[in-house]
């Protein structure tokens, strides 16, 4: 049927869009997901503040008795506190401290949690049983309470706050990664890896682990937000980070009493910074974890 000439023909296509560039896809995604975009913008502002902000504002500890309790003005954007310290300068310095603490906590908890989670999920058996019981126990404490008692038992330093809060989130990451590893190890590629000559450890770490990390990675953004909240909450109770250090929770705590006497700005602005910063992480995190579907 058919001669050779008829078989060769040029297929015509309806308009075929060009392959989008990576940037193009990114922009299209941002356009379709406005909440994610708000998160990215907020986070960029806060990261900018944290990285370069401190070079542009004054000393967060400089007191000025003459200017105590000045309300917000062009000179003191966020006003001053009872020692006449500039609240804007303090808030910007606090951004650096709070964000870096939050990020370090999330990273430490994620790294430890996912390594334990993969081992536990992939190998199963006794080890898994023990790990699960331990996370059960740790998850029986609200994260805030667990962090609180660890900091209270250790002496108060920033490092100990990081350790305490990270410890409170490790079980969360263990659970996440373990659950994914349980799914991944049943997939056929894991069996195929064994047949290709991979031993148990190579199969676990070279094949299963990289494919099990996604839930932990995307949840790390949410945990960063929670960590900032926890650290600030502890500081508000004078646990962990102590006055006069410029830290959002410390500042809200110092300003709490001023509210009764009418100086609302001493606690309003640092508290607002906490909420906006955590929102940035949550807008992004909700999107990545698929809560927006």
């Amino acid at each position: 049927m058919g001669d050779d000439d008829a078989r060769r023909f040029d297929v015509q296509r309806v308009y075929v869009p060009e392959e989008q560039t990576r940037l193009g896809r990114w922009l299209a995604y941002m356009r379709d997901n406005p909440l994610f975009t708000i998160g990215v913008m907020l986070l960029s502002i806060f990261l900018g503040l944290a990285v370069i902000g401190p070079y542009f504002v004054g000393d967060p500890l400089r007191t000025d008795i003459a200017a105590m309790y000045s309300p917000p003005s062009t000179e003191h954007w966020f006003g001053t506190d009872e020692y006449g310290r500039d609240i804007f300068a303090r808030s910007v310095h606090a951004a650096r401290l709070d964000l870096s603490i939050g990020i370090v906590i999330a990273l430490v908890a994620m790294i430890i949690g996912s390594a334990v989670g993969v081992v536990s999920g992939y190998f199963g058996g006794r080890v898994d049983e023990m790990v699960m019981r331990l996370t059960d126990i740790l998850l029986a404490f609200p994260g805030f309470v667990l962090a609180l008692i660890i900091v209270a038992a250790l002496d108060e330093s920033i490092l100990n706050v990081v350790i305490a809060v990270a410890a409170a989130y490790v079980p969360y990451f263990i659970r996440l990664t373990r659950a994914q590893a349980l799914v991944e190890r049943e997939k056929e590629y894991a069996d195929a890896a064994r047949l290709a000559g991979n031993g148990p450890f190579r199969t676990a770490f070279r094949h299963v682990m990289p494919n099990s990390l996604r839930p932990a990675l995307v949840s790390a953004t949410l945990v960063t937000g929670w960590a900032v909240l926890t650290v600030a909450g502890l500081a508000f109770l004078s646990v962990g980070i102590q006055p006069p250090r410029a830290e959002w929770g410390v500042m809200v705590g110092e300003g709490a009493g001023d509210i009764i006497t009418g100086e609302w700005w001493t606690s309003l602005f640092p508290g607002g910074m906490i909420v906006l910063a955590v929102m940035a992480f949550h807008f992004i995190g909700d999107d990545l974890t698929g809560t927006n579907t």
Binding site: Y189, D191, A192, R194, L195, A196, N198, N211
Partner: protein, 312 residues
Amino acid sequence: MSLLEVRELHKSFGRGADEIPAVRGVDLELAPGETLGLVGESGCGKTTLGRMIVGLSAPTSGQILFGGEDVAGRLHEPRYRSRVQMVFQHPQSSLNPRFRVSTTLSEPARLLASESAGASSSESIRETLRLVGLGEEYLSRRSGQLSGGQQQRVAIARALMSAPDLIVLDEPTSSLDQSIRSRIISLLKDIQKSNSVSYLFISHDLSTVRRIAHRVAVMYLGRIVEISETNQLFDDPKHPYTKALLSAVPTLDPKKDTERIILEGETPNPTQLPTGCSFQDRCSLVHEACRTQSPSLANLGSSRQVECFAVQ
């Protein structure tokens, strides 16, 4: 001498009252260069049997002889590992999504390299890829960039990398479209012609099995009930289950409608098997002996064995 011999193989999952017998005493032989089709419905134990033969699952009891040597439980040892490989049912999940094709293929080449594969591995990777009908441009792709048929070709190439004597194919075509399915079948046949590798072809799709297998074994509830040369089995099935199974398969031939056998009920729960023949409750030829004694595979002619009192 046969390449593979399986004797009295058993496998159970769970313990105590929840024990589920998946494979209940299977005997098999497979010659070099031969394709044995293993057919049966879901839960009949065919996949479990295949996984035991490649060593992904350890038998509860029984022997797996490879070249006369019992390898049950030792298949992970390097000297056996390269000789038996497997191709899986879902081409997409059987490839590591993070790996490029080159990595997928170089892994067995590197980890299972034997003296015979003396040539440089990158050369043998290209050659194997050509053998399964893919060009070099595929080396740098990830599995997400391949179609289902191409993924399955890569999976076949991966199984071939260690120059195995036997490949267990576990439903390799059941998740593919008809036209691609046919191409994979003829690809497998061509590979067998050039490499003289043996296949254990597991499938519930009888028409596909008919096209590739030299002999076919029919499984029901963990036992082989009939094993025979392919054409003989399809033309003249003996076991009542085989007959029903064959007649249940829709075919393109419209005249076949005449003597359809429709079985009553469904495969019973393997935890509550009756005494005697496990097919008794659905069988039209059932008689007294079937309720009390268990039949075993008996020769019926030179190239066929059947496990049924009614036809022995």
